[in-house]
Amino acid sequence: MTTNEGKLTKKDFTSDREVRWCPGCGDYAILATVQSLLPEVGARPESTVFVSGIGCSSRFPYYMDTYGIHSIHGRAPAVATGLAISRPDLDVWVVTGDGDGLSIGGNHLMHALRRNVNLKILLFNNEIYGLTKGQYSPTSPLGSTHKSTPLGSLDRPINPVSLALGVEATYVARSIDTDRKHLSEVLRGAYEHRGSAFVEIYQNCNIFNDGAFAAVKDKGQKEHNQIRLTDGEPITFGPDNERAVVAEADGSMSILPTEEAGDRVVVHDPARDEPTTAFALSRLALNPTGPTPIGIFRDVDRPVYDELVREQIDQARSDQGEGDLGSLLEGGNIWDVV
């Protein structure tokens, strides 16, 4: 239950349901960050809806004291689209995973993003199927061995950020489950972005795929591998910013020692309308096993789907007048029988 007035706290967004993820799961950290962030950004529980599909991450809505739909496998973006089109007054969030969002539901994810529906889509990427106990997922690295691929995965993985940029999503970001500050920042940006916001969150599954993101999470490694994207800043990284991202003639990007890069260092600009540069950045890491960009790749303004839908309705009303049922039925050829 929430009150109507006054400043809200994390408690106002926390349901009375016992959280049932495995102890140590990265989902706990993400949940806590979201529950803390929403009151901070001024969200209202009654105006917030979390929609999910199937998978470990999809239990998320039950733990939020907001409105919520735990839908079916892969379909959360579709369900959320209907809600967001018809109810522009709501903040609609989608919580999905790498299996739910990229495998069975890849089609819906792609279309929600390219339409720029007003949705905040959080994709918890753990590179594994958790709820079905450990099969490889669309983001599992090539050759990785799991229950269903004892001899190594033959499937080239999807890079979720590349996919989102490929369909010209208007807000595309990546963060890490346990990096509360960074995750909050990226989610705040998503909340404030009107239109589709896509956030990939590296989320550790400590049961079936522990340490998949060690290169960007663990002390001693992350300092060397996190490429933190900051608006307006040259893209350099490493403990002493000793490495830099440069653009190659063929449009791809590569990493050079900063001193060699000189003025070739790419300056990050998420507002660039053309997604090509952001896409090239996303290709620096197919899987996060080495230097990997995190942060906001792209943040641009485009017409939002529900606004366009409403504009057409307003236009029709101004052209044809407010619909009148009697006139509609009598449209076309009519005749009277006496």
């Binding site: 809505p61 739909i69 579709a78 109810r87």
Partner: protein, 633 residues
């Protein structure tokens, strides 16, 4: 054609009065036969006839010209009496090429009128149609009154001036030949072409030279009939004595679309329509997309699953939410329909049935998805099902589907089919003020409903409907989903007793709908019948016509038609048991028959045929005769 009288007017050729006639236009897909049929239908409607139409076209958009696969046809039955079917065998067949003749001549009544476009009877076209010899010369058409009309040539000659003046080229001129044929047939049946002229001028407003050419061809066809000695008669079918009121023609898809808009207006809920294009349901989307001034939100989704997904989301948000498809699309929506059952949200799922299985016969009609919509889901997932019985009835059926969905907070399936979708009939327009007031059947919950906070599954004791609290309402935040719910709180529950109770309540809620239904209306004029014909959906017309035929022969036969397939009406069991013979004809392999046998243990006599075409009334009269009266007609 049924004659009444022959009258001669001064200066007029013999004008034969008919009670009714069936005419079929057949030609290549590119010949404009659907449009020709549509125009003749409108002309007949404006002349006051009762009518029924049967468009029949190939699934291929443009099959190779001149082939059997490319033949498109349009049949129209028009009458001065109340009629129920598009007619069995045509009295008049217009065949625009040999393939059309090959495909349709067997249907023509013996002695029927055959109008051939002789210009299309080239050796190559005859070959393409599979003729070894020219049927005009080998005696195979001697049963018919054949009129060889050089339709193409007449059209080109009529438009010679237009071509010379460079207003259109020869190919464009030739394309007007369907209007020449329409003009000729209009003359044959004493129909005014004024309305079609107006229509052509309005349709080609931006291309007046095309409008002129079509009007010229139309008039030339009429004049050809008037001046050629070949036609010794022409005919007249007078206005039917229909109930008084204002009428229009309407197809099934259009009627469903209008019914949905009416339900939106009468419930004061915004209409959200999410769908993916599929034959033969797409026209509902097209129609609704034109009516945005009613606040209709149409969403063409990326696939069938997204379509119903969006509808579930919009329903949660408080819209009157609707999706439509045909069997293959409904198959894809199946899992989401289960979610709609579990979340107990109101919505309408329209299935415009077509021939199956799989892709089946996309443009042909069938009633074979009854079991699919009743049972095609995992788990016990009951969904109410209503069916439209005629094209215009799609309007009332859609409103009824909305009433059930909103009253009981449940997904509802509305069944239509390919025949109803594309066929037209005159529709007596309802008074808008008399339509059901759907604001009375539901309300949004705005206050908590218990001391323990809001319980999203705390039910109305009468309807068993759960409350409908919309996002945006403070204090009623709640989560729903596909996992089993605790009855009342809606929390996830794996409790065995609760699961059985929830399964039972989902079942009971659908059954409660039957308590609300009006008693079944049995059509039994003599009150003496011991034979009952039970049907559902689009077989209504042929069954009714068959019963009327039998009654004219002195047979007492009763008829009942089911609007509600789930739940079945409470008074159905006693009704079926009270007849010595119950016959159930269906365009499937016996789905309703099976259901009725299982429920009532009455030995239903089924009749099952799936040809992609609606039943003929003669066919059903034979079946009823055989089962009910022990002999062949």
């Amino acid at each position: 054609m049924s004659d009444t009288a022959t009258e001669n007017r001064p200066g007029d050729r013999e004008r034969v009065q008919l009670h009714s006639a069936v005419i079929r236009f057949a030609g290549d897909s590119g010949d404009g036969m659907q449009l020709t049929g549509d125009r003749f239908t409108t002309q007949s409607a404006l002349a006051g006839n009762d009518l029924a139409t049967l468009p029949d076209f190939p699934a291929e958009i443009r099959a190779p010209a001149g082939t059997l696969a490319g033949v498109s046809s349009f049949q129209l039955h028009f009458s001065d009496k109340d009629i129920h079917t598009p007619g069995d065998a045509p009295d008049v067949l217009v065949a625009m090429n040999p393939a059309a003749l090959m495909k349709h001549h067997e249907a023509l009544k013996p002695g029927g009128t055959l109008i051939l476009n002789t210009d299309a009877f080239s050796e190559r076209n005859l070959q393409k149609a599979g003729y070894e010899d020219d049927p005009r010369e080998d005696g195979s058409l001697t049963d018919f009154q054949v009129h060889e009309v050089p339709v193409t040539d007449l059209t080109l000659r009529a438009l010679e001036g237009h071509v010379e003046r460079g207003e259109l080229n020869k190919k464009e001129a030739e394309r007007c030949k369907n209007m020449l044929a329409l003009g000729l047939v209009s003359w044959m049946f004493s129909r005014s072409v004024d309305e079609t002229e107006e229509w052509l001028r309005s349709k080609f407003r931006s291309k007046p030279e095309i409008a002129d050419a079509n009007v010229e061809a139309l008039r030339a066809g009429w004049n050809y009939g008037e001046t050629t000695e070949a036609f010794v008669f022409h005919y007249e079918v007078k206005a039917a004595k229909l109930p008084p009121g204002r009428y229009r023609n309407i197809t099934g898809n259009q009627a469903v679309a209008y019914g949905l808009i009416a339900a939106s207006v009468r419930s004061k809920l915004p209409l959200f329509y999410g769908s993916y294009p599929i034959t033969p349901a797409s026209d509902i989307l097209h129609e609704l997309a034109k009516q945005k001034n009613f606040g209709v939100q149409t969403f063409q989704a990326e696939d069938e699953i997204a379509a119903i997904g969006s509808v579930i989301g919009a329903s949660f948000g408080g819209s009157l939410s609707v999706t439509a498809s045909s069997g293959p699309g409904i198959a894809l929506k199946t899992e989401a329909m289960g979610l709609a059952v579990a979340t107990e949200l109101p919505m309408i799922i329209v299935n415009v049935m077509r021939g199956g299985p799989s892709t089946g016969l996309p443009t042909k009609t069938e009633q074979s998805d009854l079991f699919q919509v009743l049972y095609g889901r995992n788990g016990e997932a009951p969904i109410p099902v209503v069916a439209a019985e005629s094209p215009a009835d799609g309007f009332d059926a859609a409103i009824e589907a909305a009433r059930i969905a909103l009253t009981y907070r449940t997904p509802v399936v509305l069944l239509s089919d390919g025949y109803l979708a594309n066929s037209a009939e005159p529709w007596l327009l309802p008074d808008v003020a008399d339509l059901p007031d759907l604001t009375q059947v539901f309300e949004f919950t705005t206050e908590s409903n218990s001391d323990d906070g809001y319980l999203p599954y705390l039910r109305d004791p009468e309807t068993l409907a759960r409350p409908w609290a919309l996002p945006g309402t403070p204090g009623l935040e709640h989560r729903i989903g596909g996992l089993e719910k605790d009855d009342g709180s809606g929390h996830i529950s794996y409790d065995p007793v609760n699961h059985h109770a929830m399964t039972q309540v989902r079942h009971d809620r659908v059954q409660r709908i039957a308590d609300d239904l009006a008693p079944l209306a049995v059509d039994d004029p003599s009150g003496q019948a011991d034979v009952l014909v039970v049907g559902w959906g689009s077989t209504s017309g042929p069954i009714r016509a068959a019963c009327e035929q039998l009654r004219e022969k002195g047979r007492d036969v009763a008829r009942v038609h089911l609007r509600h397939l789930s739940p079945l009406p409470n008074d159905l069991d006693d009704l079926l048991r009270s007849y010595g013979t119950v016959v159930c004809p269906e365009n499937n392999m016996g789905q309703l028959s099976t259901l009725l046998r299982a429920r009532t243990l009455v030995d239903i006599k089924g009749y099952h045929r799936v040809t992609g075409q609606p039943f003929a009334s003669d066919e059903l009269a034979d079946v009823i005769e055989q089962h009910g009266f022990g002999e062949q007609a």
